[in-house]
């Protein structure tokens, strides 16, 4: 547990300074900090407790969006990466498009997606899947392509079919890469969910933030932000656990010896 101590100490120190700056009028006045603009950590903590039901209800909505959107992105990303890996023609045809898709500012097209897909969960899933798709696909494809070329050859001398090489060698070898991509995607998936909800929603943490902002309930805004961060960290942690179980071999470990 000793390794948790330094980060905890840093967080505690930062929160303490923030509390001091917001609470102590001498500093607050000097920095012209208004309580309704910058709530003290203790106000946020209070909001986390008093608004717990409101936060939980909306968090549940966002959790569903994030998990479904993320799962869609993983399924689509892995399928797409495998298809591009297996076919040089597909790779040449679609790789530029894959890059181009990432240059589209999702915030800009979010309102259009709402028009297309309605007010429900659809556009949120689409936005989350869009932002998560890229890191997952690109990493998985890199993983598939970085397989030691001697391994598929070895498998060919052992009567393996193309599909068996993919299943027994290439996909397991790409798993550590897939996990790297998925961890990046997990963190930005929550941002995608907030964009999605801002573009049109009547529930969810992003929606709650908008409403609380309108009512100048800044502490509640921050409380929702804390919950969103916790959500992203939890998803990241879950993936790190899965990685330890299913993707622990170092990329390229098969190369040595």
């Amino acid at each position: 547990m000793r390794r948790w101590l330094p980060p905890l100490a840093v967080i505690a120190a930062l929160l303490g300074l923030w509390e001091l700056a917001a609470r102590w009028e001498l500093i607050a006045d000097a920095l012209s900090i208004e309580p309704f603009l910058v709530p003290a950590p203790s106000d946020v903590a209070e909001s986390l407790w008093t608004d717990r039901e409101l936060l939980a209800e909306n968090a549940w909505v966002t959790v569903q969006e994030v998990l479904l959107g993320f799962a869609t992105a993983v399924a689509a990303g892995v399928t797409f990466a495998v298809a591009l890996h297996l076919s040089a023609v597909l790779r040449r045809a679609f790789y530029p498009l894959l890059i181009a898709s990432q240059t589209v500012p999702v915030i800009a097209i979010a309102p259009i997606l709402v028009v297309w897909l309605g007010f429900g969960i659809g556009p949120k899933l689409a936005i989350i899947a869009l932002v998560c798709f890229f890191p997952i696909t690109v990493n998985t494809l890199d993983g598939l392509r970085s397989v030691d070329p001697e391994l598929p050859r070895m498998m060919r001398t052992l009567d393996a079919t193309r599909v068996q090489i993919l299943r027994r060698v290439e996909i397991p070898a790409a798993l550590p890469f897939l996990f790297s991509g998925a961890k990046i995607a997990a963190v930005i998936s929550v941002i995608g969910a907030v964009f999605g909800e801002w573009s049109g929603a009547d529930e969810g943490l992003g929606h709650l933030i908008l409403v609380a902002q309108g009512q100048v309930q800044t502490a509640r805004v921050f409380a929702a932000v804390v919950v969103l961060s916790a959500l992203a960290i939890a998803l990241f942690g879950l993936l790190a656990l899965l990685e330890r179980r299913y993707g622990w071999w170092l990329p390229g470990r098969a190369r040595t010896a």
């Binding site: 001697e150 001398t157 071999w249 010896a257």
Partner: protein
């Protein structure tokens, strides 16, 4: 020390050498290479090479590094198509046909780090459609016989270099092909482990009635393990000397390599290698 002679002998080859009494009398050679040439672009690697291998025969190929030994093995294995010449393994002369006849063991063990040792060894049965349990059942007796008992479920990272190489060899055996192609199987091992592994392989090969080609840059290794050794020139590779190895393989390695006849042969092979380099 796993001495091969302790292993159950399926088809003993103790009296080694050409007049191998029990060898199946087939007129057709197992491997027939005629007028084989191969180039990578303008780089000529192999030039009009001739090679024949009887059924059950163990042939060593030695030559300076970069002379095209490995390429020759890949051609035989069906991993490459030659630029010119004919190449037949069993009754197959296409790449896919040769692939079906040959088991190929590379210099590196190429074990999959995420699979247990036994699952690595049992890859070929798995590829042929066996369930994991069936494939393991097929590999398990070989683990006992080849001194790997107790390491079935170890990950490759937990095994020593010599053990990894043994697992790789078992994987090659379990491919169940009539021809074994071994490409410097012990080149990555230290000298002591290597000597042990040579002795082990000599014993393991005694129990296997298969034809094998061993590529090596180590004359002693080839002479110790094989019935016949071909010395290749540097690129483009042609056969410059052919030596029939002397000793019965059942003897311990240190006795074999100290035998005057063996030493004389080794000198001849080394001389042939150096002669061509000038």
């Amino acid at each position: 020390m796993q001495r091969g002679t302790e292993a159950p002998v399926e088809e003993p080859r103790t009296s080694s050498r050409p007049d191998r009494g029990g060898a199946p009398a087939s007129a057709e050679p197992t491997i027939a290479v005629a007028g084989l040439s191969h180039s990578f672009g303008t780089l000529r690697v192999i030039e009009r090479l001739e090679l024949e291998l009887e059924a059950g025969e163990l042939v060593g190929l030695v030559g300076p590094s970069g002379c095209g030994k490995s390429t020759l093995l890949e051609l035989v294995a069906g991993l490459r198509e030659p630029t010119a010449g004919t190449l037949r393994v069993g009754d197959q002369n296409t790449t896919s046909g040769r692939l079906a006849q040959c088991a190929y063991m590379a210099q590196r063990d190429l074990l999959l780090p995420w699979l247990a040792a036994i699952d690595n060894a049992a890859l070929a049965p798995r590829n042929r459609g066996a369930s994991r349990a069936e494939a393991r059942a097929e590999a398990a007796p070989l683990f006992d016989r080849f001194g790997l008992a107790g390491f079935e479920l170890a990950r490759p990272a937990e095994l020593s270099g010599g053990m990894r190489q043994r697992v790789a060899f078992l994987r090659t055996l379990l491919a169940g092909k009539p021809v074994l192609l071994l490409d410097e199987p012990f080149a990555s091992l230290d000298a002591i482990t290597r000597a042990e592994m040579q002795e082990w392989l000599a014993g393991a090969l005694v129990t296997q009635a298969r034809s094998a080609v061993l590529v090596s840059h180590d004359v002693e290794e080839a002479l110790y393990l094989c019935d016949r050794v071909l010395v290749l020139s540097s690129r483009p590779a042609v056969v410059v000397a052919e030596l029939a190895a002397p000793s019965p393989r059942a003897l311990p390695r240190n006795q074999v390599v100290a035998d005057p006849a063996f030493v004389a042969l080794r000198e001849r092979a080394l001389w042939a290698l150096q002669e061509r380099r000038r």
